[in-house]
């Protein structure tokens, strides 16, 4: 039975789908962490300024 | 007691407003009628196939026109009515939901009472029978229970007119299937043995989502 093509397509969908999604959320997490630490640094400076 | 007094006052108000504004029922009817005409040409309804396609045509036309129009009983309230006034009133939990539900059911039944005779006339198929009317009423209640809840939810949301059908059609799939199949069963005279318990399914759906709406509507009202 020659239906390997369908299996191959399905595997592509599964693996590429999952890896693209993981890559996407990984990037987003790094990006947000970066932003958060920037905000924190800024806030710490502000606190020093206040004192 | 107080609960039903409030519900009655709200339903009465909606009916009076509809009689004076004539905004919802008429557009429901005209919309449904136009879909009937479009379906006739899309599917070439003839004597041979009208019994198998007819039920779907009736229900799709009714559901589409109601999905477009039924949310307006609530949207209009937000736009130029007393939404805030109703929220600041000491309404009992869910009274507003029940009132809007009853209003929507009445509007839909009224529009259906106009559209069914038109269907009989245009397609020469007798659908005004007691079993089909029962299915119609149960289906309408189920449709209204969901659409009222989601119209409340969408009242202050962007793109609410589009979002209402997008949200309610998937949830209403059981109602669509049950009403179409039950109507078809009655038209083709399928023996009771071969029938799935569509009426039971509709009753269960109605009961479940009226309760859900009654409980959850409170969450929807707040800002």
């Amino acid at each position: 039975m020659d239906n390997f093509g369908f299996l191959f397509a399905a595997l592509l969908v599964v693996w590429i789908g999952i890896f693209v999604y993981i890559y996407y959320i990984g990037q987003k997490l790094n990006d947000l962490r970066q932003q958060l630490s920037e905000v924190e640094i800024r806030e710490n400076q502000n606190t020093k300024d206040d004192q | 007691m107080k609960f039903w007094q409030q519900v009655l006052a709200l339903v009465h108000k909606d009916l009076v407003l509809e009689i004076r504004r004539k905004e919802i029922i008429i557009s429901m009817f005209v919309f449904a009628l136009q879909i009937l005409v479009i379906f006739n040409y899309a599917f070439d309804l003839r004597v041979e196939n009208v019994k198998s396609i007819g039920p779907g045509v009736i229900w799709v036309s009714i559901f589409f026109s109601c999905a477009v129009n039924v949310g307006r009983t609530i949207f209009l309230e937000k736009e130029r009515g007393g939404w805030e006034g109703l929220i600041t009133a000491p309404l009992e939990l869910g009274a507003l939901y029940v009132a809007k539900l009853i209003g929507s059911i009445l509007f839909m039944l009224f529009a259906e009472a106009l559209i069914l005779p038109m269907f009989v006339v245009l397609f020469n198929l007798q659908v005004i029978t007691l079993p089909i009317i029962t299915v119609l009423i149960l289906g309408t209640i189920g449709f209204a229970s969901i659409s009222t809840m989601f119209a409340g939810l969408l009242a202050s949301t962007r793109a609410r007119e589009i979002m209402l059908p997008v949200l309610i059609f998937p949830i209403l799939l059981p109602v669509t299937i049950a009403t179409v199949e039950a109507t078809a069963n009655h038209l083709t005279g399928t023996t009771a043995m071969n029938r799935a318990p569509w009426t039971g399914l509709l009753i269960a759906f109605d009961a479940l989502f009226i309760c859900a709406g009654y409980i959850l509507f409170d969450q929807v009202l707040e800002e």
Partner: protein
């Protein structure tokens, strides 16, 4: 300034979550590799369906996790409506998105399996229809959040949809099942009744791998949602 730190609880440590997701990553990635080996080489080729039967090792675990995700949306929505805490909302939001990804994969793989076996991409089988409806409901769920006038309102509205949508699932399933008995179709299920032990082992490994993968992704996604909330609150505080 003191007011900001008191209210935002910024410096809350997520240390143990980081550890857990690291551990999960270390376990999941080799397990995924093992899954690849087990499902493609270790498990024997199915006699009747051929290679395409191997899709089943991926289709069913993604399906299971998709449903698990939507169950979590339901639970988190109920808790959120009672407690209004940001965490449960973030979990619901994350779970809906991850569930949508898994369900999309499941629908596509199911289709790719159906074409050679049933001869059709789509069969309106009750499970497929129910999945498709779920997919629509949770797509609507994410749209509803995007269109809501405020984040708080979006969270509450979405919670209502998360509850109603989930409660609807069994009814959708029943109705499509009864509908199918009236419109008979070919009945070949993706799973086999009697599976050789190698197939069963491959399936169990795959199920475990995908479930751990799901949990790992869900943790990351929930953290993203929480950080997003926090950044938004801070930008408002400071701006």
């Amino acid at each position: 300034m003191a007011q900001i730190t008191a209210t935002v609880q910024s410096t809350r440590s997520y240390g143990w979550v980081d550890k857990l997701s690291q551990v999960l990553a270390f376990v999941t990635l080799p397990l995924m590799a093992l899954t690849l080996y087990m499902t493609l080489i270790y498990a024997p080729t199915d006699a009747t369906q051929g290679d395409v039967q191997r899709i089943f090792y991926y289709h069913v675990p993604t399906a299971w996790n998709g449903f698990l995700a939507f169950f979590l949306v339901f639970v988190a929505s109920v808790v959120y409506l009672f407690k209004s805490s940001r965490f449960w909302d973030a979990l619901a939001r994350a779970s809906a998105e991850v569930g949508l990804v898994f369900t999309t994969i499941m629908i596509i793989t199911g289709s790719l399996w159906g074409k050679p076996v049933w001869g059709t991409w789509w069969s309106w089988d009750p499970r497929m229809t129910t999945t498709l409806i779920l997919w629509f409901i949770y797509l609507g769920y994410l749209m509803l959040r995007a269109y809501a006038p405020s984040k708080q309102q979006g969270a509450r509205y979405a919670a209502v949809l998360g509850i109603v949508g989930f409660v609807d699932v069994p009814i959708v399933y029943m109705s499509t099942k009864w509908w199918r008995t009236l419109h008979p179709q070919q009945v070949v299920e993706p799973g086999q009744v009697s599976m050789p032990p190698e197939m069963l082992q491959a399936f169990m490994v795959s199920l475990l791998a995908f479930t751990l993968l799901f949990i790992w992704i869900l943790i990351i996604r929930t953290r993203i949602a929480l950080i997003e909330d926090e950044l938004e609150i801070r930008s408002i505080e400071n701006g």
